[in-house]
Symmetry: C2
């Protein structure tokens, strides 16, 4: 029998996607669940809500709370935390490189490296040289990966993943989608999503 | 030494305030924490965000998810669930009656009765006769309680509690505020809030 599968929709500009990305692999392995990493863009989905910026910037009380809550959550989980400035960081190029990596077998460690740089060290992950550093640290040659990230197939892939997310009912990140279409939104629901994926499968 | 105190800000129109209200008493008792029940109105706070309706109505994908997530959460917690229609229910009168009850010693069971009627049975808690039924079921004479709910002192009390909540940084419900000002938003953070209240106190 094949393992249950859980779709992990995430966005590099999303704060709570950071702890989710750092933790989902180990938790899914322990649960016997296969995770499909699906980076997408929240921008088009937020625009459909009439938001041209992160809701954490548009609603300052909510934003202040989120940063404090994220800091507390990271401390509890033993994850380093440093707030990137500006927020949100431009996530388009990193998302495209991630799709190159997911096709070539180095996508998951690259995604973790991006999140660790962005929210663990506060580094500007919108910059090509930063992504190049991260690729080198993983033993990937930066130039061809970055060139492929700008090719039409990868651009189309990111667009279609964003459309798939929106059609599945995704409105924020991280969102976990089980094989039966059940949605779980937020790092807080990651364990519930893994448990559901197992039940839905059996 | 006095017990640690946790402020519980909630709104009768708020969906996730339902499981919080039904559970906070027993969890706080077990933790040795005193909970101050503080009903307030989200309407003025949402208006400051430019929202003239619940965000769960303004953003349909988020709303669809919330109802499903609430149903799942209630099932897991063994709480009955029935979606009230229309949503949100008008919460002004129930909030004022709650403040009468909190001054007279029957506030907490009244608040639980309102939530159980609204989200456990789908009853229209904006209607005076429904609130009257709930009062009677608690052995409270409805007429004087409802008359007091419309008096100036109670109206002013609800307004000032809403202002206190807003100044404390509250932007949604339920929100828990510890003695040192630390905020925890959402039913999901209730256990964290209780733990923080104990640490902040000691």
């Amino acid at each position: 029998m094949s393992r249950p599968v859980l779709d992990f929709f995430f966005e590099f500009a999303s704060t709570y996607s950071y702890p989710a990305a750092m933790r989902v692999g180990a938790l899914a392995d322990a649960a016997g669940v296969t995770v499909r990493w699906r980076p997408f863009l929240l921008g088009p989905i937020f625009l459909a809500h009439g938001w041209d910026d992160s809701p954490f910037n548009l609603y300052p009380a909510k934003g202040r709370y989120m940063w404090r809550d994220l800091e507390r959550s990271c401390a509890r989980l033993g994850l380093p935390f440093r707030r990137p400035d500006p927020f949100p960081q431009p996530s388009l190029l990193a998302s495209r490189v991630a799709h190159v990596g997911l096709a070539e077998g180095w996508g998951e460690p690259f995604c973790r490296a991006v999140y660790a740089a962005e929210f663990g060290e506060g580094r500007p992950i919108g910059e090509e040289r930063v992504l190049g550093d991260l690729l080198e640290s993983l033993g990937i040659e930066p130039a061809p990966a970055l060139a492929h990230a700008r090719a039409d197939d990868i651009k189309a892939r990111l667009r279609s993943e964003t459309e798939v997310a929106q059609r599945a009912g995704v409105f924020g990140a991280p969102t976990f989608v089980c094989g039966d279409g059940e949605l779980f939104w937020g790092h807080d629901r990651m364990a519930d999503a893994l448990a559901w994926a197992i039940r839905a499968r059996s």
